[in-house]
């Protein structure tokens, strides 16, 4: 038997020690009245890069992380400066942000809202990150954006394409540079009309979460406005890896266009399944069967290989663009990693520069000052032409690219060709558009 006696002396001793312990803080605690959450006081500032390292979007996540590391290098004055040289604002000096050296912490979102929030929380609480960025899934982006709003740090969304991120779930502390489902629909519709005509029947396969839902809604609305019919909309789980059971019913549905509202690993698998089932060789209603992938990226094209040839979609940015900003970015990314960046890498790099620039212009890391500096901000030279960060919903407005899987790729990176650059005016919408209504930015929250 282990012995345990509660003696009076023992109780007194413990009590005295506990009392001393409670009194201790009053001796040491300095008045640490920070003006806002995680105010950087030393010679460095910490940013949190929260990207999917596992799960269906892991490829995108890895590329995002590369872009973030490149951006940090450029901000700290390393490398060739990349797009900092072409950026219309010249506030960034290459000496960190406000003279503080930029450091970063990374985390794995696992493409799950729960894990992403836990990871972001530990960055804020443990590592003292003053800005969180990343996310390759809109579900994750929305969850982390909500967290950042509560905690009082800035969230610079990475790859998130759902209308809700800057629609129904928009937050004052959150900003998105990437385009969204509505813009994809607006950019794709005219191209689809020219290619496939106005008398078509579409079948949607949709990733079952906020991004899939809003993109499906946007594309269906845009194509129905052309005169197309939508025969069915089927939701598929995000974690699914085999889509054959979803493809088979398409054959018997009478549809002659398949819209794949899938991204990343999902799209690679569903498109491969669709091609294996011979959908692209079918003739339905006297027309060739077509497949459309509204949100496209080079990484997905690489994953799907031969199957992407001739398939249309939209993208935020592509490395073959010939403006100065894009060329500078592709050059420094290629020098460092040996291959061109993806659109995910581009938007993450740009978001990091935009944040740093906003802090420089505001002269403070205070989230409310940053929000003020970014709202209604017009800039250029970051690869998408003249761009506006709209104050009403913190969404960037810029040109959208319509791309097609290249028939004769000249290299393993040359997989997509730009069909059309849809001008900004054509993809703009009112902040209270029905697809974006119901949200409220609220007030900026500096925390603490």
């Amino acid at each position: 038997m282990s012995k345990f006696d509660v003696s009076r002396r023992g109780v007194l001793k413990t009590g005295a020690m506990a009392g001393a312990g409670v009194a201790l803080p009053t001796i040491f605690t300095a008045s640490s009245a920070a003006a806002f959450t995680n105010e950087p006081t030393g010679s460095t500032v910490t940013l949190g890069f929260n990207v999917p390292q596992t799960g269906p979007y892991a490829d995108e996540g890895a590329d995002e992380l590369r872009a973030y590391e490149l951006a940090v290098e450029h901000l700290n004055g390393g490398g060739d400066g990349g797009m900092m040289n072409t950026f219309s604002s010249k506030a960034l000096q290459g000496n960190g942000i406000l003279g503080k050296k930029v450091e970063y912490v990374t985390g794995d979102t696992q493409t799950k809202s729960d894990a992403a929030r836990a990871s972001a929380k530990s960055m804020i609480e443990k590592d003292g990150a003053v800005m969180i960025t990343g996310g390759s899934s809109s579900g994750v982006a929305i969850a982390v954006q909500g967290l950042c709003q509560e905690a009082g740090v800035i969230f610079m969304a990475g790859l998130t394409h759902s209308n809700d991120t800057t629609g129904k779930d928009k937050k004052a502390n959150g900003f998105r540079h990437f385009f969204n489902g509505y813009m994809s629909g607006a950019a794709l519709a005219p191209v689809l009309k020219n290619l496939y005509g106005t008398d078509r029947t579409a079948y949607h396969l949709t990733a079952d979460y906020t991004w899939g839902w809003t993109q499906e809604e946007s594309i269906a609305a845009a194509t129905e406005a052309l005169g197309w019919q939508t025969v069915n909309k089927v939701r598929t789980p995000l974690a699914a890896t085999d889509f054959s059971s979803y493809i088979a019913p398409v054959l018997n549905s009478g549809a002659d266009v398949l819209v794949l509202n899938h991204y990343g690993g999902n799209m690679v698998n569903s498109l491969t399944n669709a091609v294996q089932f011979g959908l692209r060789d079918k003739v339905v209603n006297g027309k060739n069967f077509e497949i459309v992938v509204p949100l496209y990226s080079r990484l997905m094209a690489k994953g799907a290989g031969e199957n992407v040839k001739g398939i249309h979609g939209s993208t935020n940015w592509h490395w073959t663009l010939q403006d100065e900003g894009s060329k500078a970015f592709v050059k420094s990314f290629g020098t460092k990693y040996g291959f061109p960046p993806s659109q995910a890498a581009h938007t993450c790099y740009v978001q990091t520069l935009l944040y740093a620039d906003a802090v420089e212009r505001a002269g403070s890391f205070n989230p409310c000052a940053v929000v003020e500096a970014l709202e209604g901000y017009e800039f250029d030279g970051l690869g998408n032409g003249p761009t506006l960060y709209r104050a009403e919903d913190h969404q960037c407005f810029k040109d959208v690219l319509v791309v097609r899987g290249k028939e004769n790729p000249t290299s393993e990176f040359d997989l997509l060709e730009v069909v059309e650059v849809t001008p900004r005016a054509q993809v703009e919408y009112a902040p209270d558009h029905p697809m974006f209504a119901g949200g409220n930015l609220g007030a900026c929250n500096p925390g603490a």
Binding site: F4, V6, A30, E125, G146, Y209, G438, A443
Partner: protein
């Protein structure tokens, strides 16, 4: 004390001390040192330690006592989370109604699932619970989207009614969870020299609830009811032949452990008002099984240790990246540094599962009784050396059962 014998009292006091002083214990390294990477004393992780501790304690009441291995316990955790978030949406931001409702709903859900699943035992019971949990997960993930918001996760919005609170605060943001005005996320930071200790209101609420849950579990272990459950584990058939109906006992154990899981889910939502379907996935159910076995099934303290162990790995090891490694080994010559980093790389960052898996294998192979057995061996070894003549006492030491 509290109707416990001396051994249990001392165990309870040890656990109480550990939880109360966790902010100190888990932050042993100064904030600016390289080892600060291994500090775990920040609110979110400390909350997770105790919340998953509760979850594992509850699971242990079922698995440790009756031997029924449920592979679907995460379903109750998820149900608890959803109920709590709905309370925040409809009633108000006080955590008490949310926690109460989450326990009740999880209890009812456990009654339903337990009533059906407990008709079978052994592997069939495990499969039934797994099936139910996957069903709940898929329902939450797609079919019940209006209630659960599917993959995106159930979140608070500015439009929620919150009839006993406010929909939005004066400055236009979503109100935060609180206990009669004490905000769950409010943290008192204490700087002692180079150390920074964080005392978080939410953590202490969770810690107190965990102590209560732990106390209750000790009482159950020591009660005639607990004895009956142990009898079920050792030989259920014999009990049936003696004319005793074991179903009510196992069902009660199942419901109690389901309510523990619901409590954990409710607390999770109270600390961070979001509920996602992946909380109910089978991997989450498997995790609690791992926690219990890793710590020591059937022991009182084991599941809590196992929960802490797994959560520590998940949160600390997954955040070590190559950059951190390079900074650790920067004292080495260049080629060697790269080689060492290359060798360690698969075990950190996204490879934390691999590290955990190896440790789990080692524990199961060399310490079949879990971490508790390891502790006992060390203790036996120490006391064996200290008092060689008192070897018998060392053999008898068995603090957790």
């Amino acid at each position: 004390m509290f109707g416990l014998n001396k051994k249990d009292t001392s165990l309870l006091i040890i656990v109480a001390c550990l939880t109360m002083f966790a902010p100190f214990i888990l932050n042993p390294f100064p904030t600016d040192s390289g080892l600060a990477q291994f500090n775990a004393g920040y609110p979110d992780l400390m909350q997770r330690f105790v919340i998953f501790g509760i979850f594992a304690i509850g699971f242990n009441i079922l698995f440790g006592l009756t031997g029924y291995l449920s592979f679907g316990h995460a379903a109750f955790l998820g149900v608890g989370s959803y109920s709590a978030v709905w309370m925040f949406k409809l009633i108000g931001m006080n955590v008490i109604p949310a926690i109460v409702l989450s326990v009740i709903v999880a209890g009812l859900f456990a009654l339903l699932i337990g009533f059906i699943s407990l008709r079978r035992s052994g592997i069939y019971f495990s499969i039934l619970t797994l099936a139910f949990a996957q069903m709940s997960f898929n329902l939450a993930y797609s079919v019940l989207t209006p209630i659960t918001n599917g993959e995106t996760g159930l979140q608070l919005t500015l439009e929620d009614p919150r009839i006993l609170g406010v929909s939005a605060t004066a400055d236009g943001s979503i109100p935060v969870t609180n206990l009669f005005g004490l905000e769950m996320r409010s943290t008192f930071e204490m700087a002692v020299g180079p150390w920074a200790f964080q005392f978080n209101a939410g953590y202490y609420l969770c810690a107190f609830i965990m102590l209560a849950a732990f106390y209750l579990s000790i009482r159950i272990f020591r009660s005639p009811f607990g004895m009956m459950l142990r009898a079920v584990k050792s030989n259920q058939q014999r009990m049936n032949y003696t004319g005793l109906n074991t179903r009510p006992y196992t069902l009660a154990a199942f419901v109690i452990s389901g309510m523990y899981a619901g409590l954990a889910g409710g607390l999770m939502a109270s600390m961070d008002p979001l509920a996602g379907a992946e909380r109910m996935q089978w991997t989450a159910s498997g995790e609690v099984v791992l926690m219990t076995i890793l710590g020591g099934a059937g022991t009182l303290i084991g599941p809590v240790l196992g929960a802490g162990f797994i959560k520590y790995f998940e949160n600390i090891f997954s955040k070590i990246n190559d950059n951190v490694l390079h900074s650790w080994f920067s004292f080495m010559p260049d080629g060697m540094e790269d080689a060492v980093v290359f060798l360690i790389h698969p075990f950190i960052g996204k490879g934390w599962h691999l590290t955990l898996g190896i440790l789990f294998m080692l524990v199961v192979i060399f310490l079949p009784g879990g971490l508790v057995e390891g502790g006992q061996r060390i203790k036996g070894w120490l006391s064996g050396r200290k008092a060689k003549d008192d070897g018998k006492a060392a053999g008898e030491t068995n603090p957790a059962e």
